[in-house]
């Protein structure tokens, strides 16, 4: 469990507040009741004392003795404690045997445990003593034993309630965290499947207008906008394709019809070259469009489950004679058959581009490999040539850039960009790695489940990111 995670913090906060609220409620109530009961007991004792002192002032000791006896015999105030002693401490009247040990005349009531005659056990009582003029002692008070026992029970109940409230607080924290996660899960899952190409997916709305509802609305509106922009881009590239290709078609037809009739060798060479150039122009336009569309995620609707091992086998077979004629070898390194949904045509083209690249710029044996590591399918093409220096690898993936040693060659530097665009279309990335000697270009296809954290797929951070965080797959 990550203590820095927002959900854990939130759960902790909910838990803490629940505990505090429970404790305040339970202990506060106890304290309130206790002080209320103490006040009541003292007030009753004080009324009685004032009454008796009045009697003493009027009739002296005999009147007081009679009054005390009357009160104790009436047994109306069961909880009342009364005691009158003479100057030597001998009992004159009252329901105590003697002045309790340690009780001295004070201005306040003290809580003591004293055994009354006729009672089995000592009881808690509030007592106050007063010295009379004749040297005797008047003790007044209230027994609070039953209250004391009640409070003890209340305390036990409070502890039990507190323990329960801790459990409930933990449960509440768990449930509220789950609720948040559940509310967010739909949004995360929607964004994940949109990233993987299902542009029509939206977060289901239950009509709640809370913060989550706002987030869901905003996510859906953003996705609408992205989808609209994507559709516009598709339209624009379609139009561009049409506008560029129609004249190219006419050019090609014109050249072809000339090629069929021309007989002069010099003219034939020129026409052939013109045809080759127009074809090259076509390939460039086609590739540039493919890159743009793949980067925009157009084409995911045509993903088909494809056996990648068979696909690589086919590519090896197609290129083998050509590679052998160059005095090199092409081999296949497949650990297990892997079937994943891909865009077969674009993947054919991407891998074909990689093999073409090593034919043009690489050296030694070409190895096509297929592996699965950590939920990731890795298709790679490696050679034994001079590779690409580390500081030029990001540049190598950019559109229309060609590294110095390749500048003489054919093409417009779109090969690796297309490979990268195709990888992105499949939710993956491309890595270039030094094999010492040689270059290994790997296409990483992420087959991660829906609830894993989304990767940053921003166009800027992407190439550097894939170069750094993908390295762990290759080093293994």
């Amino acid at each position: 469990m990550n203590l820095r995670s927002t959900t854990v913090r939130f759960a902790g906060l909910v838990f803490l507040f629940q505990i505090i609220a429970g404790a305040v409620l339970l202990f506060g109530l106890g304290a309130l009741l206790r002080s209320q009961s103490r006040d009541d007991a003292i007030r009753a004792a004080e009324t009685m004392r004032a009454d008796l002192l009045g009697t003493y002032a009027e009739g002296g000791t005999p009147a007081l003795t009679t009054a005390i006896e009357m009160r104790t015999h009436r047994r109306i105030e069961r909880s009342a404690v009364l005691f009158l002693s003479d100057a030597r401490g001998q009992a004159r009247a009252g329901n105590l045997a003697r002045v309790p040990l340690g009780l001295v005349p004070t201005r306040t009531y003290v809580l003591m445990k004293v055994a009354r005659p006729g009672h089995a056990a000592a009881e808690a009582m509030f007592l106050r003593a007063a010295r009379l003029r004749d040297g005797g002692m008047l003790v007044t008070g209230t027994v609070v034993e039953s209250e004391r026992q009640l409070f003890a029970q209340l305390e036990r109940a409070t502890m039990l309630a507190l323990i329960l409230s801790i459990l409930f607080a933990g449960f509440a924290a768990f449930v509220s965290t789950r609720l948040i996660l559940d509310r967010l899960r739909a949004t995360v899952a929607t964004l994940g499947s949109v990233r993987r190409g299902d542009m029509s997916r939206r977060v289901p709305r239950d009509g709640a207008s809370d913060a989550f509802g706002l987030l869901e609305d905003e996510v859906n509106l953003t996705l609408d906008r992205v989808e609209a922009l994507n559709a516009e881009l598709k339209l624009a590239t379609d139009a561009l394709a049409h506008d560029l290709k129609s004249p190219l078609t006419r050019l090609q037809f014109a050249l072809e019809s000339v090629a069929r009739t021309v007989t002069e060798p010099a003219a034939q060479g020129a026409v052939d070259q013109a045809l080759a150039e127009s074809e090259r122009l076509l390939v460039m336009i086609e590739t540039a469009l493919s890159i743009t569309r793949a980067e925009a995620g157009i084409g995911r609707e045509n993903f088909t489950p494809t056996n990648l091992a068979e696909m690589l086998e086919t590519i090896v077979e197609i290129y083998a004679p050509m590679v052998e004629d160059e005095g090199r070898a092409i081999i296949l390194d497949v650990a297990e058959p892997v079937e994943v949904p891909i865009h077969p045509q674009l993947m054919d083209q991407a891998i074909g581009n990689l093999v073409d690249n090593t034919l043009k710029y690489g050296a030694g044996t070409i190895t096509l490999s297929l592996a699965q590591r950590g939920g990731c399918t890795i298709i790679s093409v490696a050679d034994e040539g001079q590779g690409i220096p580390a500081d030029q690898r990001i540049e190598a993936l950019s559109r229309f850039t060609r590294l110095d040693h390749a500048r003489r060659g054919w093409g417009a530097g779109l090969g690796l960009s297309l490979v990268q665009a195709v990888a992105h279309l499949h939710g993956g990335s491309v890595e270039l790695r030094d094999c010492a000697p040689g270059l290994k270009v790997a296409i990483l296809l992420d087959s991660a489940p829906l609830d894993t954290p989304l990767r940053d797929t921003g166009p800027r951070g992407r190439s550097t990111r894939s170069l750094s965080d993908g390295r762990k797959y290759l080093d293994g």
Binding site: A241, F253, G299, E317, D348
Partner: protein
């Protein structure tokens, strides 16, 4: 008997070039400049092949194709499209067309594909076990190839390539047709990858023979046949 082709294409220049080229190749060509006229002509049903532009004013090419197939007309259809991206190609092929060509294309490529789809329509239903061309013989069951009694050892990939060629004797097959037909590979590597395959095959079949069977067709592709 001349074969009749219906060309449904709105761009007049492209249509002129295609129909001009096809007439030169002794096809009879009818033209329609929009989907509605095209559909009207196509329902006649007497065509050997229909060439259909993907983007048409009025009725879109895919809609024309859907209407044709809906009406039970099985005439082979080749779709032409400026939309090169592979996803449109898949859409075209899954919607009932027989082939799909991306603009701009070489006329030779179109011609080869027209002949291919027309022949496919007339192909014998019975599966063949022995393919022949002149004195070259391929037994598909024993997987033996011989020419005039001489045994020819072929690698599996060469066997498949030769099998495809022998199923299209005397037809021009282009490099992309071979890539698609033999390997189901939909990307033209642009280099002479296919030429190397063919020259190896040629060495095994034609070397030392008086009459070569495997011919290169300039600007188009290859053809296997007894005729030079």
């Amino acid at each position: 008997m001349t074969q009749k082709i219906l060309l449904i294409e709105d761009d007049p220049t492209t249509a002129d070039f295609i129909s001009g080229g096809l007439t030169e190749e002794r096809f009879t060509v009818d033209r329609a400049a929009n989907g509605r006229d095209g559909l009207f002509l196509a329902t006649d049903g007497s065509y050997d092949c229909i060439i259909l532009d993907r983007m048409l004013p009025g009725l879109d090419g895919m809609a024309v194709l859907a209407a044709l197939r809906g009406a039970g007309i099985a005439t082979p259809v080749i779709i032409l499209s400026a939309l090169g991206s592979a996803e449109d190609r898949i859409e075209g092929l899954t919607s009932g067309s027989d082939d799909y060509l991306v603009k701009p294309f070489a006329f030779a490529e179109l011609l080869a594909r027209i002949r291919l789809v027309i022949r496919r329509g007339h192909a014998a239903a019975a599966p063949e076990t022995v393919l022949r061309c002149d004195d070259l013989e391929m037994n598909l069951l024993s997987r033996r190839v011989q020419r005039g009694g001489r045994q020819i050892e072929l690698q599996p990939r060469e066997f498949r390539l030769l099998e495809f060629l022998l199923r299209h004797v005397d037809e021009v097959v282009t490099r992309t047709i071979l890539l698609e037909g033999v390997w189901d590979y939909h990307f033209d590597p642009g280099t002479n990858v296919i030429d190397v395959h063919l020259s190896r095959l040629r060495r095994k079949i034609d070397e030392g023979e008086a009459r070569p069977l495997l011919h290169t067709v300039r600007g188009a592709g290859y053809r296997i046949g007894a005729q030079p």
